[in-house]
């Protein structure tokens, strides 16, 4: 009897091993090409999501480039082998990407982690996988020392005592669209009418502009800058650099704060759709979402991660980790944004 039990256990163990081996071969010989930014973003994905896929036999290659560059490569390859299988898409690019029919429909049965997301983040062709929270952040010590009132809206930045001490995103920077869109909304305009926002920017004395987020940290660290408009990830890095910053989600009418959303889509014509969806699903898992948030300063879209993120003091203090509040933040409507017109107006009114 004892022998029989042992045999059964051994057989069961063999069965488990067999099934693990079968599972391990699920993506044998598959190469998945992921279009994403270089630097920290690629490295964080490589350390997390890629590892999970590689465990199942796949190889993950990164096609590094901005979402716009990668989309240009997909368009250039139209009708032929696709140059990547899944890629990062900014919310502002969605009308163009969907209009060109560049993406396959997502099979959410293969992306179970997406069930934790809000319905507007789970779309037919794209799924959100990060957001950034566009904030006003300021040097709390400097404000206290000079008796300045912390800003609540972007219109508060007109305070003449802040002249020459404010930095906002240049239109060509990564935060340019959300920056100008935010100023337009704060000044009574909207995506179709950004002129009030441009006038507001003009009214702020000796404004400085950042092209890359690192400019903000350098400005704060050197003492040249006391207030910046940038996403909360830069506030976190500024705090780590030793500057006592406080973030404020700006007020836009009834809403507080503005988010920029990053999506993933599976490229139409890919031969490895299942692996691409597995990768997307892994990026939405709690562990990977946490890791990506910590490494990149982007905020997770999977709300199950928020309690864990709240255990990191700087992240808790400088970001909004409340699903309802995030849901109530402003999202610019990409269908209403005419970017070339925005840039043209910016060049005429601001760059001159």
């Amino acid at each position: 009897m004892r022998w029989m039990s042992l045999c059964l256990v051994a057989l069961a163990a063999l069965g488990v091993t067999d099934s693990a081996a079968a599972q391990g071969k699920r993506f044998d010989g598959v190469t998945l090409r992921v279009g994403t930014w270089g630097g920290t973003n690629r490295d964080a994905q490589k350390e997390t999501a890629a590892v999970e896929l590689e465990k199942l036999g796949a190889k993950v290659d990164y096609v590094i480039g901005s979402p716009q560059d990668n989309f240009a490569k997909i368009i250039a390859a139209r009708g032929r082998d696709v140059p990547m299988d899944t890629f990062e898409i900014l919310g502002s690019m969605l009308p163009e990407v969907l209009g060109r029919n560049a993406l396959d429909e997502l099979n959410y049965a293969n992306i179970p982690n997406a069930s934790a997301l809000r319905s507007d983040e789970r779309r037919k062709h794209v799924v959100a996988h990060w957001t950034t929270q566009e904030m006003i952040f300021y040097n709390a010590d400097k404000f206290k020392e000079l008796g300045l009132t912390p800003p609540k809206t972007l219109t508060d930045l007109r305070d003449r005592r802040l002249a020459g001490r404010i930095m906002i995103p240049d239109i060509t920077s990564g935060g340019g669209i959300e920056g100008l869109g935010g100023f337009a909304l704060a000044a009574g305009g909207d995506e179709r009418n950004v002129e009030p926002g441009l006038k507001l920017i003009k009214e702020i004395d000796a404004l400085k502009f950042w092209k890359v987020g690192a400019d903000v940290i350098t400005g704060f660290k050197s003492g040249d800058i006391w207030v910046a408009v940038a996403h909360a990830g830069w506030a976190i890095r500024t705090a780590y650099a030793g500057v006592p910053v406080v973030t404020v989600p700006p007020q836009y009418g009834q809403k507080r704060g503005l988010v920029k959303e990053g999506f993933l889509g599976v490229v139409r014509g890919t031969k490895v759709k299942e692996a691409a969806e597995f990768y997307v699903n892994t990026l939405l898992s709690e562990d990977v979402q946490y890791h990506m948030s910590i490494k990149t300063g982007q905020i997770a879209v999977n709300p199950k991660v928020f309690p864990r993120l709240a255990t990191v003091p700087v992240v808790k203090d400088l970001t909004v980790l409340d699903s309802d509040k995030i849901a109530n933040m402003v999202r610019l409507d990409p269908d209403k944004i005419n970017l070339s017109q925005w840039i043209d107006q910016w060049n005429r009114m601001i760059s001159r």
Binding site: R33, W37, G38, G39, T40, N41, R42, D43, D61, Y62, V63, I64, G65, S66, D69, A72, K73, A76, A77, R80, D81, P83, M84, G174, V212, G213, A214, I217, T218, K221, R237, Y240, A241, G242, T296
Partner: protein, 268 residues
């Protein structure tokens, strides 16, 4: 003289900042911070230890690509220069303008145009250069060959043909004359062109951006993307290593080949 010195110091200042900031440490509790701190508060080599392996891989690719592109550009550019200067072809100015054309086309356009060309080739033949090293190399050769053609043409235009005639009169064959007289005298132009070709290939971003294979990018593209989305001082550390390597290479070239002596002989 003082103004020249000051202007030179001003031009070199960014390199000083890059090198200085690469040794700058900050007390951030182990968190990688993303900004340039100059002058350093605390001197450290930690950013050198943190240079990611992918940057070394990208650097190796760029070096191989740059050397291959420069050699190929010499193989194409030197005969082209002879053809332009000595060929007596009808429409030489037009041909010269065509050979210079890659310098006048925005490099982004070159990248996209080659990518489209490779896709077309893949459609109509079995040759698939999309995302291959060969495809990237061909585009770089296109980009850098005008530098070799231009510099060798400039030397050939000043060339004293009587030296070749003297060699022929003394019984040397055309091939021997070319190898023993012509080639040594045009070498300053070849070296200059090859050096430019290597540098232009090594620092190129736009062409490589569109043609590099997934998973393998060139060094400047890797740096460009790491700074575009984030800014890690390890990029400054690797840039400092490349600068130091370039200086060593130039000093070595001067010692071994005697670039200055060659340039003087070319000017004479």
């Amino acid at each position: 003289m003082l103004w020249f010195a000051l202007a030179y110091v001003f031009l070199l200042a960014p390199i000083v900042v890059v090198v200085g900031a690469s040794f700058s440490g900050a007390d951030t509790g182990g968190v990688v911070i993303s900004y340039v701190q100059f002058p350093p508060q605390r001197w450290t080599l930690e950013w050198y230890a943190r240079i990611p392996a992918v940057q070394y891989e990208a650097l190796a690719l760029s070096l191989v690509l740059g050397v291959a592109a420069a050699l190929a550009a010499c193989a194409i550019g030197i005969p082209a220069a002879f053809g332009l200067v000595r060929g007596g072809l009808a429409g030489t100015p037009l041909i010269a303008a065509l050979l210079r054309a890659p310098l006048q086309i925005p490099t982004v356009v070159i990248g996209i145009a080659f990518m489209q060309l490779y896709y077309l080739m893949a459609d109509y033949s079995r040759i698939d250069l999309v995302g291959s090293f060969a495809g990237l190399l061909i585009a770089h050769i296109f980009l850098v060959t005008p530098f070799v053609t231009g510099s060798v043409s400039a030397v050939l235009q000043r060339f004293n043909v009587r030296l070749e005639e003297a060699a022929v009169i003394l019984g040397a064959s055309r091939w021997r004359t070319f190898c023993r007289v012509t080639l040594p005298l045009i070498m300053p132009g070849v070296y200059t062109g090859a050096l430019y070709a290597f540098v232009v290939s090594f620092i190129d971003v736009p062409v490589s951006l569109f043609l590099a294979a997934p998973g393998s990018v060139t060094y400047p593209v890797e740096l460009f993307h790491s700074m575009e989305h984030d800014f890690n001082p390890s990029a400054l550390a690797s840039a400092t290593l490349v600068t130091a390597f370039s200086l060593l290479l130039l000093v070595g070239a001067e010692r071994l080949i005697g670039l200055n002596a060659l340039l003087r002989s070319g000017a004479a």
